[in-house]
Subunit: 260 residues, 2 copies
């Protein structure tokens, strides 16, 4: 199956320039609006809203009857529009900041489904409706082929222009550092202040604790080191919950998986 992602479809200004022909794994039949959602027993668009507003939590897989709905949502323009609105708010906020100019102001970026898209993987693996398979997912990550989310890249570059330093804080582990750096560089991300990864996972399951605990702990260390977290953006609520959160947080859409 040859899958081209629509991640390059929207020009930076929100235009409709098509960079390359797009072959959808799922061809949108009805869009991802009401009609499609209503066909299933579960109200799939209401489920997705519940996820985004953090009412539906601790879920393992997308409801089976919503796989098609989520697929159309992700591959069509709907996801990209929802994503763009969040980034537009983040850019507008960043442009209002009065910066001290001392180089201590940072913006925390998550990586997966925030800066890089794993949609090529999820399009082949049930759009989150099938249980997570660590082996095949890590094989995909090791390719270093994940495309940028271009809206986030737009925010990233604007922050560099403004003098706010990007910091990546990810659930990826140290053994994935080299390929992650390679992938980020290939996709137009460079010049970050830090790239914070988790210690490599050992067979004994060394990594205990929630994502919230891990990420808030790392942000606390950044703050203790004198950094000021002016913004924080991620696709999971666990990216942006837990003090210190950062002066303002942004939740990007992600109906594919839940990390608590």
């Amino acid at each position: 199956m040859n899958i081209r992602l629509p991640t390059e479809r929207l020009a930076y200004g929100g235009g409709e320039a098509v960079v390359a022909p797009i072959i959808h794994a799922l061809r949108p039949l009805l869009g991802s609006g009401r009609q499609l959602a209503a066909r299933a027993g579960v109200a799939c668009d209401s489920w997705r809203l519940g996820v985004e507003a953090h009412n539906v939590i601790d879920w393992r897989t997308v409801p089976a009857e919503c796989e098609g709905y989520i697929g159309h949502y992700m591959l069509g323009e709907h996801y990209r529009r929802d994503f763009a609105v969040v980034v537009d708010e983040a850019v507008a906020y960043a442009e209002t900041l009065k910066l001290a100019g001392n180089g201590k102001e940072i913006w925390v970026f998550d990586i997966d489904e925030t800066s890089l898209s794993n949609l090529p993987y999820y399009a082949k693996h049930g759009f989150g409706a099938t249980p997570y398979n660590a082996t095949s997912f890590h094989e995909y990550v090791a390719e270093g082929s994940a495309p940028a989310l271009p809206e986030t890249r737009r925010l990233y570059h604007r922050l560099l222009e403004l003098g706010v330093k990007p910091v990546f804080l990810t659930g990826r582990t140290e053994d994935q550092r080299t390929i992650t750096v390679t992938n980020l560089h290939r996709q137009g991300f460079s010049g970050w202040e830090k790239l914070l990864l988790k210690p490599a996972v050992h067979a004994t399951g060394e990594l205990q604790g929630s994502a919230v605990e891990y990420k808030s702990g790392e942000r606390q260390k950044l703050q203790d080191a004198g950094f000021i977290i002016v913004g924080n953006i991620g696709d999971q609520w666990s990216d942006i919950l837990g003090a210190p959160e950062g002066a303002r947080t942004f939740k990007l859409p992600d109906p594919l998986y839940y990390i608590g």
Copy 2:
């Protein structure tokens, strides 16, 4: 204009029993899905998602080009479906609670757009797209005619059955206590533990501070009095942000207004 609200349309089990004929102020033409949203320059459904996930904040009015979209969303079944998913999660959570049985466990309910709907007012006043008018809104509240949000009433009654005591915590003021009690009783809410209202507003603008400060302060008093806040539900993020939030929080949809 005779407006019947669809608040009674869904039976408690999610069925489609129609209690009364419904006359819409706006007749849904295309639903509130993608096509309608895409007609406007603003991506109205993406804007609404941005509001619900707390990315779009501090806004004064619904974007002018989204008035029709929001009207259709609110008067059609979409709002009710989104609302029901949140309440379903809340009920499921409540049913997992291991209660001490000492009568100290409470659930905090907001009132407007959480327990009672002001949609009859907003349907006549631009669905949030025109600036807030305190005079006409207070006249509407004084009628005591706001219908229940039936899904919230379902949660409320389930909590009473389980032995969790409801507490209302509202931005309504003490001078509105009598009509608020009357309205709640008329709409099937009774047996609450407390109804907490703000001090009456004086001409000098006595009420300073944000809704987050006010509501979190009141929750702190409840906790200091020995109550355990097992749940907290509201339509505004300011209902559920700010420690102590409660053991779990639920954000109901509301694209009509923002209270910070």
